[in-house]
């Protein structure tokens, strides 16, 4: 089943994490996972991320990985869609399969009581999907229906355009769900190929939280994934970010315009990363008191909400934001955003201290609930942080000086590169 995806920046959220006992588990079969044991509630949250995702679609077969992923729960062995759903519901387990631009995500929640049965059922979905013809046509229709809906959704139109412009010439520019033509042409053979390419042991990242020991998790992971091939499709190479101050408008009906704005971001191993990250929080943290929220919403009433921040793909870094405003106030809004970008280096000691206090204080608060923790752990691994990152992260923030933040703001928030993608009917805006 494919639900309506309004996903845009299906990128990885930046890290904020707590001082928690994360264990690295290596299964007897060699799979690695991060685990936090929590016995209070008798269930386990398991997160798998297969790197590659829609970037592995061969040219002309865009959407194959998305359709394949949507079919994982639609039939395996002697179970058809309804049989699979019945077996899953009998176990009161929940599985979700989420395709995106460069990841196939699998989220599972199952009761400790019947975890072996739940894992076996999930294994059958991941390793032995049968792609029954009836389900292929049904899920294909759902995807085509999503594509049609997205053509009329200004947020989705803006996201598509943003990706096309930003990543021109790279597979990141392609729509993950494919196009009407490519999706219509996909065959069961294409889906089998996509399955082989996208679900591999080499490219999987794993985190678990809940009522399970390290040893039991290792055994369970081997049962779950040993049937998958070791290697699959080749991951894409570096992507250049083509954002250099463009202002692009696409006409769209409605009272408001959707504005996406952005420029190239910063790598996590850049020495400026933490100073720049703090600067981004000051500018666009999306909460009250951050500069964009204060200037655009609180002082001028131009929007309901605005935020901006860094995000990273495997092969590119971005600094992006989003706002919606009435067509008549697009011009004013853009001017305010540009001005805020330019004046960002003007940061006071008080502002830095307040932001550090927020970032370090909110850090332990993310540590809440098995499902949240497992998602956070898998996210940290995807970004490439070491396992001791959760315990060190606040120290990195604390160590940043005012001079470093000011310098990073100046170096990495470049108003001349800041690009705007506008979908709507903005008034008084000239293409530059």
């Amino acid at each position: 089943m494919i639900a309506r995806l309004t996903a845009f920046f299906a990128l990885i959220a930046l890290p904020v994490f707590a001082d928690v006992p994360v264990k690295e588990v290596t299964s007897p079969g060699g799979l690695k996972a991060w685990l936090v044991e929590a016995q209070e509630i008798p269930f386990v949250a398991l997160e798998l991320r297969f790197k590659g995702g829609a970037t592995l679609d061969p040219s002309g077969k865009e959407g194959a990985v998305t359709l394949m992923t949507g079919l994982l729960e639609e039939g395996t062995g002697d179970l058809d869609s309804q049989g699979f759903a019945a077996a899953r519901d009998d176990l009161a387990a929940s599985f979700s399969f989420n395709p995106s631009r460069e990841i196939v995500g699998v989220s599972a929640r199952f009761l400790t009581d019947n975890q072996d049965k739940a894992i076996d059922l999930l294994r059958r979905a991941l390793v032995e999907p049968s792609f029954p013809a009836e389900a292929v046509e049904r899920v294909r229709m759902q995807i085509l229906s999503n594509l049609t809906a997205e053509e009329r959704d200004p947020g989705a139109v803006a996201a598509k355009l943003f990706n096309e412009i930003t990543f021109e010439g790279h597979v990141y520019a392609r729509p993950s769900e494919g196009t009407h033509d490519s999706v219509k042409a996909l065959t069961v053979e294409d889906l089998k190929a996509a399955h082989k390419a996208a679900l591999t042991r080499e490219n999987v990242i794993i985190a678990a939280t809940g009522d399970i020991t390290a040893e039991a998790l290792g055994v369970l992971l081997d049962k779950l994934l040993s049937g998958l091939p070791e290697k699959g499709g080749a991951l894409p190479g570096p992507a250049e970010v083509h954002l250099s101050g463009q202002v692009v408008t696409e006409e769209f009906p409605g009272p408001q315009a959707v504005i996406l704005f952005g420029q190239e971001g910063i790598k996590i191993d850049d020495p400026d990363f933490f100073p720049a990250f703090i600067a981004s929080e000051i500018l666009g943290g999306g909460r009250f008191g951050t500069r964009l929220m204060t200037e655009v919403r609180e002082k001028r009433g131009l929007t309901y909400g605005i935020g901006a921040g860094f995000s990273s793909l495997d092969q590119a870094e971005l600094l992006t934001g989003q706002v919606q405003t009435a067509n008549a106030t697009v011009k004013d809004t853009i001017e305010v955003i540009r001005a805020e970008w330019a004046r960002l280096p003007d940061i006071s000691e008080d502002e830095l201290e307040a932001t550090k206090r927020y970032l370090t204080g909110s850090y332990p608060l993310r540590w809440d609930g098995n499902a949240n923790i497992a998602r956070a752990l898998v996210g940290l691994q995807l970004q490439g942080w070491p396992i001791d990152y959760p315990s060190k992260r606040n120290g990195y923030i604390e160590a940043v000086t005012l001079a470093q933040v000011q310098a990073a703001a100046k170096a990495h928030f470049r108003a001349k590169d800041l690009s705007f993608i506008i979908v709507g009917r903005p008034v008084g805006l000239e293409q530059e």
């Binding site: 089943m1 309004t6 929590a38 509630i41 008798p42 269930f43 949250a45 639609e74 869609s81 309804q82 759903a85 019945a86 519901d89 009998d90 009161a92 929940s94 009761l111 049904r138 229709m141 759902q142 085509l144 229906s145 049609t148 997205e150 053509e151 009329r152 200004p154 009906p253 409605g254 009272p255 408001q256 999306g286 909460r287 009250f288 008191g289 609180e298 002082k299 001028r300 009433g301 929007t303 309901y304 909400g305 919606q324 405003t325 009435a326 307040a354 206090r357 927020y358 970032l359 370090t360 204080g361 909110s362 850090y363 332990p364 608060l365 540590w367 809440d368 609930g369 098995n370 499902a371």
Partner: protein, 442 residues
């Protein structure tokens, strides 16, 4: 909602349940109700203040006022500058927000457990000491107008939903949009907001719900210190709302909008909500929504429309069991390519008729019970979620005891009760059916 969240149509029937929660209830002399739900897994606490007032308590002509006031509650008190509330919470690493519905307005902070005192002091302060500058009111009204545009006017689905509700209710204020009709929203002002505040915000019209790493004794001490000195209002009168007359005619809404990407048909029926001490009918409807739409291809509508007849891309059912003056039960279908809305609607009705004829399969029923048991376990994973369920229950006419027994009531539902509830509720005379389409000719 004061800050933007996802604007999804909620087509999901939530399976509400919890188990083994340590819940303590106390009441201060000034009438303030306090509920403590202990969860010691992490050193975090969620502090929520729920007021028993929502958009359905607005006077005719002032739609949007309850939500507008929710925004203005961040604009300062006698001792707190505008915007300072959120900044002080953030300075401690916490987060805060607020939301408004038909029956309640709620404010919450999520902070480290040792910061409970601070947020309690600030919430107690703004319960009685709100001050509003005219300029802040005008700017914030523009923010709310932009919010209305984002949620509703810029979204054909949002506009359609508003038209559906306005048509379903003949007399009850549930027919008015929470965010307010634009022309009435534009006219709201400082005086109206302060008047509403004085009429409805007081300790005896509020419930404090605290979930997390706290003890009831500590909460009691702090609550008495900060909320205790506040005076009870002399004019909290309870809810005086126009009630719905018997509905005797089905209604239709046909909306066309050039921006529609995917047409769909939806039907909302008037339905009973959980009643204190008598929750079994609502529990039966929760099970019904799950049977009809909760499990994709394994639910009645999913199976009949998306697998068997292939008339729909997706089809489901939904039911929110809470509501001070009742609630709604809904079904929807998004037609497959080449299928008209009329045909999709016919398919929905045929599937419902077949269900009413055939009854419930034993396997299906057993499976739903298993899921209900599991959902009790999964639901305990989120302290915020648990706190929200208590707050919602207590502002919609239920008690702590009702909320605690809800999982058992759900478990006790029989197939006969489900069929009886289905026959009663799936009555088109008490419904509105809507088509959202791109243009007249489908």
């Amino acid at each position: 909602m004061r800050l933007l969240l996802a604007l999804a149509l909620s087509f999901i029937a939530p399976l509400v349940a919890q188990a083994e929660e340590k819940v303590t209830e106390l009441r201060l002399d000034n009438g303030l109700q306090v509920v403590v739900i202990e969860d010691h897994r992490a050193p975090v606490v969620v502090h929520m203040v729920w007021y028993r007032v929502g958009s359905a308590d607005e006077r005719s002509g002032e739609s949007g006022l309850a939500h507008f006031l929710e925004h203005l509650m961040f604009k300062g008190t006698k001792t707190m500058a505008p915007g300072a509330f959120s900044q002080l919470v953030a300075a401690e690493g916490g987060s805060d927000n607020a939301f408004t519905s038909y029956d309640f307005t709620a404010y919450f902070q999520r902070v480290a457990a040792d910061r409970l005192e601070m947020v309690m002091r600030m919430e107690a302060d703004r319960m009685v000491n709100l001050t509003l500058a005219e300029s802040d009111v005008v700017t914030e009204r523009n923010v709310v107008l932009e919010e209305r545009t984002t949620r509703t006017d810029a979204s054909p689905e949002g506009l359609f939903s508003e038209q559906m509700s306005a048509t379903l209710y003949l007399n009850h204020p549930y027919g008015r949009p929470i965010i307010g009709w634009r022309h009435e929203l534009e006219a709201l002002n400082r005086e109206a907001a302060l008047d509403f505040y004085k009429r409805h915000y007081a300790p005896d019209n509020a419930i404090v719900v605290i979930a997390g790493d706290v003890t009831p004794a500590e909460v009691e001490r702090l609550a008495k210190e900060y909320y205790g000195p506040l005076k009870a209002s002399e004019h909290i009168t309870g809810r005086e709302r126009p009630l719905e007359p018997p509905q005797i005619a089905e209604r239709r809404v046909i909306m066309q909008d050039d921006r529609v990407g995917q047409p769909y048909v939806i039907r909302n029926y008037i339905a009973p909500s959980r009643q204190s001490g008598a929750q079994d009918e609502a529990a039966a409807l929760v099970v019904l929504a799950q049977l009809l739409g909760g499990a994709g291809v394994n639910s009645v509508l999913g199976r009949e429309l998306t697998v068997n007849s292939k008339t729909a891309v997706s089809a489901s059912a939904f039911y929110d069991p809470t509501g001070y003056d009742g609630t709604t039960f809904g079904v929807y279908a998004m037609p497959a390519p080449g299928v008209s809305l009329e045909e999709a609607e016919t398919a929905v009705d045929a599937a419902l008729a077949k269900f009413l004829e055939d009854g419930i399969g034993e396997d299906e029923f057993r499976r739903i019970k298993a899921q209900l048991t599991a959902s009790e376990i999964y639901a305990r994973d989120s302290a915020m979620g648990v706190a929200r369920r208590y707050g919602t229950a207590l502002t919609t006419g239920l008690t702590v005891g009702d909320q605690q027994s809800w999982p058992e009531v759900l478990q006790a539902v029989t197939p006969e009760q489900v069929m009886a509830a289905a026959k009663k509720v799936l009555d088109r005379k008490q419904s509105v059916t809507g088509w959202l389409q791109k243009e007249a000719a489908q």
